[in-house]
Amino acid sequence: MPAVSKGDGMRGLAVFISDIRNCKSKEAEIKRINKELANIRSKFKGDKALDGYSKKKYVCKLLFIFLLGHDIDFGHMEAVNLLSSNKYTEKQIGYLFISVLVNSNSDLIRLINNAIKNDLGSRNPTFMNLALHCIANVGSREMAEAFVSDIPRILVAGDTMDSVKQSAALCLLRLNRTSPDLVPMGEWTARVVHLLNDQHLGVVTAATSLITTLAQKSPDDFKTSISLAVTRLSRIVTSACIDLQDYTYYFVAAPWLSVKLLRLLQCYPPPEDAALRSRLTECLETILNKAQEPPKSKKVQHSNAKNAVLFEAISLIIHHDSEPTLLVRACNQLGQFLQHRETNLRYLALESMCTLASSEFSHEAVKTHMETVINALKTERDVSVRQRAVDLLYAMCDRSNSKQIVAEMLSYLENADYSIREEIVLKVAILAEKYAVDYTWYVDTILNLIRIAGDYVSEEVWYRVIQIVINRDDVQGYAAKTVFEALQAPACHENLVKVGGYILGEFGNLIAGDSRSSPLVQFNLLHSKFHLCSVPTRALLLSAYIKFINLFPEVKGTIQEVLRSDSQLRNADVELQQRAVEYLRLSCIASTDILATVLEEMPPFPERESSILAKLKKKKGSMNVPDIDDSRKNMNGNGHVEHNNNIEEPSEAPAQSPASVVAALIPTNRPRPTSSSPIIPSSGIMPASHPFTDLLNLNSPPATGGGSLLVDVFSDFPGQAPAPPAAAATAEVSEDNFLRFVCKNNGVLFENQLLQIGLKSEYRQNLGRMYVFYGNKTSAQFLSFTLPQLIVHAKPAEPVIEGGAQMQQIFNMECVSDFSDAPVLQIQFRYGGALQNLAVKLPIMLNKFFQPTEMTSQDFFQRWKQLGAPQQEVQKIFKSQHPMDIDVTKAKIIGFGVALLDGVDPNPTNFVGAGVIHTKSTQVGCLLRLEPNTQAQMYRLTLRTSRDSVSQRLCDLLSEQF
């Protein structure tokens, strides 16, 4: 038995612990414990009153037994008795027992609270600390109710000892976490902030944590902490390490306090005061500089503490996201760590770079490290580090590097740890869809995913590939050919059979011309997999067969034979049996016409949030999914609309009539035009005499060129509502991001320190719908949040947006005739005391109402000639503003809304496109041609449409994009 070096040495306890350690088996241990429990119980129940020492000893034994993992159901009363002992050690053990074995027994809580009250009032700092530690450890609501008003008083009283202040600060922090509603704000808050100036660094350390928590709750009340924190930080950062005596840790000055101060500053935007701001920048620079200095010690504690401060400083730099030089320096520093020999640093560098990748200032800098990250994926020995590398590759992916990143992830997937395979599959599927310029690449990638990691390909992934193939007729033939080839493999994954069955059932006809994939060959291939598949897959294959009967009358007999066999018609599974019976009957009695109607090709799926993205968010918690759909990536031509989390199965119900198929598909996301739905009435619904009904319908006569639209929208509301306050009218109209939306539909429209406005929109023919998201970036409420009366009319908008919350608004719009000005969104709200006015131009442009038109070279030039009148053509020659990348240009033209026509222009470096603008009254055909001159870095853009105003407007919009 070891000698107990210090303390009171409860011999009985030591003997008991030794006994337990000597037990040879679990049974022996339990026996010994039960014996002890019986002994303690009899002592506690015995007639002889126990003295304090014995009580303490037995309570301590109970605690030990509990910590071994056994249940303790008595002894609480004795522990509570110890609290009121005047001997310190007895009191201390009593408090420890209470802290560890909290019991919500209300009688006891009352007694405990009484004891705490006495100790808090004792003015003995040691006793006060014990009581405060107990409150902080238990943190129950009852305790909060009893003491929450006393603790602030103790904290800020002039005569409180430093150590008690420290305990009181963190005790209050704990109560604020468990019962924030009970913690009163008041005049003490100002005095708490001044603890940042305290001479005792321990007090500052404890107080900083408290202030950080409180500032997150009500930032305005603690704004003064910014300057105090910066000053304090600056003093620490520039101090010689001996200055801070025992707060220096392995030659690093007060690392814990520095980290906490940097954390506190992350509750706020960059300081507004210029002097303060530059002082903070100086601190951050000093911290970055120190990282380059030679280490003052070889001990890992030195470098850990130093780098802890560095990483926190980088977090603050990322949080501010306003100083490009600091961001790039941070990125370079992290880049060095990517190759550091310490695994911990490599891990943290990868993690931290993930957030840097989402800043537009540092995204490019992060991308320069791609090779290193890919290398980490291949060589790191620790799966958690590899996981970080996958996350970072996902975050740094954009159109320029997507092919390489997807390829690397796919090859990693072959050997990846099982625990992270599903996540990688989801990420690859998302990136492949997001950055597909060429959908054949997308189809190949997904089929590869199924081949490499079929078991980890969740339903969402293969549903999605089907949705996309159904919706894009340019890829259907390729998809049919590719799945047909993939199915040739002797052993293929069941998910491939599902995709193959579905796609061949829909589009098998596109490859049936080739005798190697004739209808019968396709059918035999599918049917050869049938018997190895599970029931749901077989059901899907049966549906594919009935679709074949419609597509290929010549195999009808063969398929009917299969359906008629006993293994189908008398299958034990009800679903299979029913399908076989019904499909067989349908094929026998229905005429060709009826069959063709019932088994028609599936209608396109409505655009929606990729169900895969929803799944990844669910899997990781949306916090951890770097949003790659952010404003910096404005070349994303085919943004999908993320507004609906429904995971929709590609409805495979060929036996239903098409109408019912559509009905079954649509209700989840078709807007229901009822009065309660947040839709701006379109002129079709509202009488046209209401001036505001025209507004977002863009119904301005071409003569005025839509120029009066803005005025129309917000200047004059006859009797409907008070005119917008004068202040609102003076707000400058923000159109910073307007042009970014010409070629894409989703992204961040506006952002300042308080508010972020995000947009998602979708268009079909002359109709459009826009989802506007108002996100409160602060942790405080926005009050009286007022949107233009027009919108309030459309949706009874909530006047309050909670801190950190988001509100959504939906606009429906109709393009009545061509237009050039965009409507302005006026927003007004109260943040803190101040009234905020904002005006943001909504990116609704004429090209949004494009429908792409595919045509042959001959057609194109014929129409081009027809539109030869001088006023129909608009041409512009301009200098390129971005690097001249073919893929990006293609994506932009597609994003603009026209069909990109390959092989039309005799010069292959030129781009030509065609589309039709849909307005309510007319359709305007439009042809465009873009001729790049890479040597001169110039473009010539030519537009021909049947209407001069349209040609001009489209030319203006598109020429700004290159």
Partner: protein, 158 residues
């Protein structure tokens, strides 16, 4: 904020557990079991951090004992690693070259030292001197109180 700290041996025996968030006994047991298993399965050269549920786990092994902390998403991993080290230093200084047995036989002391160092999941006092001073003062208080105790009682014959 730190959510909890666990100390366990190479054999997976819990030696100390400190919870800064309210959890039921059952949840605590499940979490401890899961984490002990996860960490013991990791190889020595692996990194000290891992993602676990929505928390960050920071751990380090000292001789036969693993020290493991769970912190929140926003928290700093490296400074948490040094919290562990500072706690080890405090134990070492107090017990004089600490070993697992010291913590087993004087578990209450290990808790008292931890409470002086961390409170409510945050660092309260990072100065080694100040923490030890507080503990030593408490020890002095108890020795004064212990003085008149009879010899019989001391050896457990009461």
């Amino acid at each position: 904020m730190m959510q909890f700290m666990l100390l366990f041996s190479r054999q997976g025996k819990l030696r100390l557990q400190k919870w800064y968030v309210p959890l039921s006994d059952k949840e605590r047991k499940k979490i401890s079991r899961d984490l002990v298993q996860t960490i013991l399965a990791r190889k020595p050269k692996m990194c000290s951090f891992l993602e676990w549920r929505d928390l960050k786990i920071v751990y380090k092994r000292y001789a036969s004992l693993y020290f493991c902390c769970a912190v929140e998403d926003q928290d700093n991993e490296l400074i948490t690693l040094e919290i562990i080290h500072r706690y080890v230093e405090l134990l070492d200084k107090y017990f004089g070259s600490v070993c697992e047995l010291d913590i087993i036989f004087n578990f209450e002391k290990a808790y008292f030292i931890l409470d002086e160092f961390l409170l409510g999941g945050e660092a309260q006092e990072t100065s080694k001197k100040n923490v030890l001073k507080a503990i030593e003062q408490a020890d002095l208080l108890q020795e004064e109180a212990e003085a008149p105790r009879s010899v019989l009682e001391e050896i457990g014959l009461t």
